[in-house]
């Protein structure tokens, strides 16, 4: 095997076993995102090590979890929820009800769709059918809601809030959680424009439906000091096409 092959294999082994340094972790995550061969290598190692899992004795799972799982799997064959970001830390006051998890029922999710369209300020141009929409809620009925509209041409997002105000001493940071990626990627800070009702942001990233979820975390001024969110996740929502 070539030196490069040996390096990648060692990196993948360390990655699976959680033994990477910060630098190695960044390299592994970048490869895992961009390199299908590396992803396959990681999967092979995970399977190779699986017999070790037999060492752990069984443990009774939490009551009620099956219901949550079944609610997360819709009848159309997709998964409504998303994996929580890898680097999310538990907020000091976080409840045990996992508020950042989009556990909302399908019915309430649909209700949010129709509500969201009324959030556009009067006089503002309706988004084009090619634009993408993400509705970020905390999963509770009548809860604070953030509607984010993404224009793929300008790579800009505009966020509108309902029952939610941007914090004064802290900031909201927008994150992209993409299937296949192990860690959320920061898209920037959501800061209100003085001359607009909404909150706008230009992002250096294409968003796609089906694989992408957006999340907003509460961070100190200047944003998260770490590669991932450090504050509680306030909102999450899948990216969907306005054209249906």
């Amino acid at each position: 095997m070539s030196d490069k092959g040996t390096h990648l294999q060692m990196l993948a082994m360390s990655y699976v076993l959680g033994q990477t340094s910060a630098e190695q972790q960044a390299e592994a995550e970048a490869l895992h995102t961009s390199d299908s061969d590396f992803r396959a290598l990681v999967s092979q190692i995970e399977l190779w090590l699986a017999p070790l899992g037999n060492l752990a004795p069984e443990h009774e799972p939490p009551i009620g979890l099956l219901d949550e799982i079944m609610l997360s799997i819709d009848d159309g064959g997709t998964v409504l929820n998303t994996p929580a970001p890898r680097a999310i830390r538990k907020a000091p006051t976080a409840s045990r009800s996992f508020p950042w998890r989009p556990m909302a029922l399908a019915a309430s999710f649909i209700a949010l769709v129709s509500t969201s369209m009324h959030l556009l300020p009067s006089g503002q141009t309706m988004p084009a059918q090619d634009d993408l929409l993400a509705m970020l809620s905390n999963g509770e009925v009548n809860a604070p809601l953030v509607v984010i509209i993404y224009d793929p041409v300008s790579k800009s997002v505009v966020a509108h809030t309902a029952h939610a105000d941007l914090p004064i001493e802290q900031v909201w940071q927008l994150w992209l959680i993409r299937e296949g990626n192990d860690a959320p990627r920061s898209l920037g800070l959501l800061e209100r424009n003085r001359d607009q009702a909404g909150v706008s942001l230009t992002i250096n990233q294409n968003l796609t439906t089906g694989t992408d979820t957006l999340a907003i975390s509460l961070e100190p001024q200047g944003g998260s000091p770490e590669p991932g969110p450090t504050g509680p996740i306030l909102f999450t929502g899948q990216v969907k096409s306005l054209g249906g």
């Binding site: 699976v16 190695q24 190692i45 399977l47 752990a56 929580a84």
Partner: protein
Amino acid sequence: MASKLDDIIERISNSDKSAVADLYAMRSARLYGIICHTTADSDAARLALHDTFTDVWRDRSSRKNVSDGHEDWLIAIAHRCAGRYRASFPEKSASADSIDTAHRDTDAVKQFSAKYGIQDNDLEFLISAYFSNGKLNRAGKRQSEDPTMKERLGRISDLFGKTRT
């Protein structure tokens, strides 16, 4: 002859949602045991088990027409999902110390170490790394930063590499 697990996985691969509930009844305790020994925090463990089953559903097409290896596939997903939360709850990382040494003689692990020629010391390290999943050692370093441990990691990686050639 197909086992009950084979049947359930086949149903899942055919997008039978009810099969997820059957799989949960059959394997959730086992998978949750792995998760609880990888991340000792109950919140993280709950999330990881949730993710395990939704990831099974999301990845169901990969099991289409696959007749074996389902158990390893499930364990691999559970371990990956537990690892997903290791940075979220660093103060409560689980420890391989909690794996009873008596369990280390399970047939699956004996076969695993014998098949690949893993030495006892390396196996101990591997088990520790697998379940600690990034936990810092007493010196505050990841095991990979310890030269001895790094050598072991290299030997294990080489043994894995031989299975690919």
